[in-house]
Symmetry: C3
Subunit: 207 residues, 3 copies
C-alpha cells in the first residue's frame, strides 16, 4: 500500500488550516485566504518534487489537493472568529502538519532510492518550507526561528526514525507512524513543557 | 498565432519597471537596479515553468527577455527622479504587469492541457510571484497583502475569464484580452475607488 | 580537469560558515544551525541547477556536500563565541563564498553552452541567492541591499571576466581564478575602502 498520497492529503489539509489562520491575522479577503493556504499547503512538497526532479509536481495532475486547500481556507474564513486563540491554533496546526509532511517528504525520497542523508534532508525540507514560506510572505517571524523551541530538530528526529525503521526492515506503516508521532511529540513537548536543545549562547571573548 | 511570447515580453517590461522603481527606493546602484528588475520581471514566469516542468525556462534560450529587463532598469536609473510619486508609479506598473502576466501564466497552462483549477492557479502564481519576490527581497510589505485591496482576487477573476472563454470556444485573442482587461480593471478599481471584497474581521468570541 | 566540483565544495564550506554565524545571531540550537547552514550553502547552486534544468541538483547524488555544510555548522556552534566580531566574520565569509560561487555558477552555464548573458546571470544568481535566502529567512537585511556597497556589481564583474577569458581562449583555470579574485577584490575594496558605484539618488522634480 502507498501511504504517500494519504500523508500528502493530510499535510495539505492541516497546513492549509495554518495558512488560512495566518491570513486571518493579516485580515485578507477570501481569495487572499485561499492564496496563503495553497502556498503553505503545497509549498514544502513542491520544493521536494522540484529538488528530486520528479516528473510531475504532486498537485499538478491531482487538482484535488488544491481543492482541499481552498475548501479549508473557505471554512476558516467563516469560522476563525470562533477561536479563542488563533495563535495557539496556528502553532498546533503547524505542529501536526509538520509531523505528517516530514513523513511524506522522507517517504518519497526513500522510495526513489536516495541515501539516508538526502532522505532526512527531504523530510526536514518538506516539513518546514511550507510554513517558512507562509511566515516570510506574511511578515511573521518564522516558527522555525523561534528561540528555545524544537522545530527543525523535531523534524530531524522524526525523519531519522523513518530511515532507521527502513534500515531495520520494519514494515513501512510503522516507520511512517513513528516518524509522524515522534516529530509531533517532540514539537508538542516543546510547546507545552518547554523541551529544548541547548541553543547557542554567545559568551564574552576570553581575555 | 501564439500570443504567449507577446504577453511574456510585455509583462517582463512592465514588471522590470516596477522592480527598478522599488530598487530606487532602496537607493541601490545600477547593477542592483538590474538585479531587482530581472528578479521581478522573470520571477513569476520562472515559477510557472519550473512547476509545469517545461523543458526550458522561458528566458534561458531567449536572452532578449533579460536584455529588455536590464535596459528598462537602466532607463529607470537615470529618469526615476523625474517622477512625482514613485510609489504611485510602482503600484500602477505592478497592476498592468499583473494583468498581462496572469494571461501569460494561464495561457501556458491551458496550452499544455491542464485542468481549469491548475490553469487558474498558474495564472495567479505567474502574476503574483514576481512582485512578491521583489517585495520580500526589498523588505517592502508585499502588495498582495495590502488589506482592503483586490490583488489575488483580481488575478483570480481574470484567469477565470480566460478559462471560461476557452470552454465556450471563444477565439484565444478575446480570451487573453478579457483576462488582461478584467484583472487590470478590478485592480484599478480597487486602487482608485477602493473596490474591495469583504475581508476577514475577527469578532469577540461568543460568550 | 573539472574545476566545478572544487568550486562547489569551497563555496558550500564558506557559505555554510556564514549561515551558521547568522544562526548564532538568532540563538538557534544545533539543528537550527545545520538548517540555516545547508540552506545558505546549497541555495544558490540549487537555483542554478533547477533553472538550467540539469538532470540532478548538484548535492542530491553527492551527500558529501551536505555533510560538509553540517560539519561546518557543528564547528561554528561550539567555537563562534571566540570570535571578536561575528558580523565582521559573516561579511567576510560571505564575500569569499560569493567569489567562489560566482565562478561555479558561470562555469556550469558556460559548459552547457549558454549565451554570455545567461552565463553572467547564472554567475550572479548562484553567488547571491544562497546569502539572500539566509538573510530573508533569518530576518536580516540582505547584504545585497546594503546601500553604497558593491555586491551584485562585484559578482557581475567577476562573471564577466570569466566570459571574456573564455571568449579570448584563455585556459579555464585562469578564467576561474580571475573570476574569484576580481569578485572578492571588488567586494573587499568595498568593505574596507568604501569603493562604490554611484547609487540612485532622488532629486526634487524640476520646476
Amino acid at each position: 500500500m502507498n501511504f504517500i498520497p494519504i500523508l500528502d492529503y493530510t499535510s495539505v489539509l492541516v497546513f492549509a488550516l495554518s495558512g488560512a489562520l495566518v491570513a486571518s491575522r493579516q485580515q485578507l479577503d477570501l481569495i487572499g485566504f485561499a492564496f496563503v493556504a495553497c502556498l503553505t499547503a503545497v509549498g514544502g512538497g513542491t520544493i521536494r518534487d522540484v529538488l528530486l526532479n520528479r516528473d510531475v509536481v504532486f498537485w499538478i495532475d491531482e487538482p484535488a489537493y488544491i481543492l482541499l486547500a481552498v475548501a479549508t481556507s473557505v471554512i476558516v474564513f467563516f469560522t476563525a472568529h470562533r477561536l479563542e486563540s488563533r495563535m495557539k491554533a496556528i502553532i498546533w496546526a503547524d505542529a501536526i502538519a509538520l509531523g505528517v509532511a516530514v513523513a511524506a517528504g522522507s517517504g518519497v525520497a526513500l522510495k526513489l532510492g536516495h541515501s539516508p542523508i538526502i532522505v532526512v534532508l527531504m523530510g526536514v525540507a518538506t516539513g518546514s518550507f511550507g510554513g517558512l514560506m507562509r511566515d516570510v510572505v506574511c511578515n511573521e517571524v518564522p516558527l522555525i526561528l523561534k528561540q528555545g523551541e524544537l522545530y527543525a530538530s523535531a523534524a530531524f528526529a522524526g525523519s531519522l526514525a523513518l530511515v532507521m525503521g527502513d534500515t531495520l526492515g520494519v514494515a513501512p506503516i510503522y516507520g511512517y507512524a513513528a516518524c509522524c508521532i515522534l516529530t509531533l511529540a517532540l514539537r508538542a513537548g516543546s510547546i507545552v513543557f518547554g523541551w529544548t536543545l541547548p541553543s547557542y549562547k554567545s559568551r564574552p571573548p576570553r581575555s
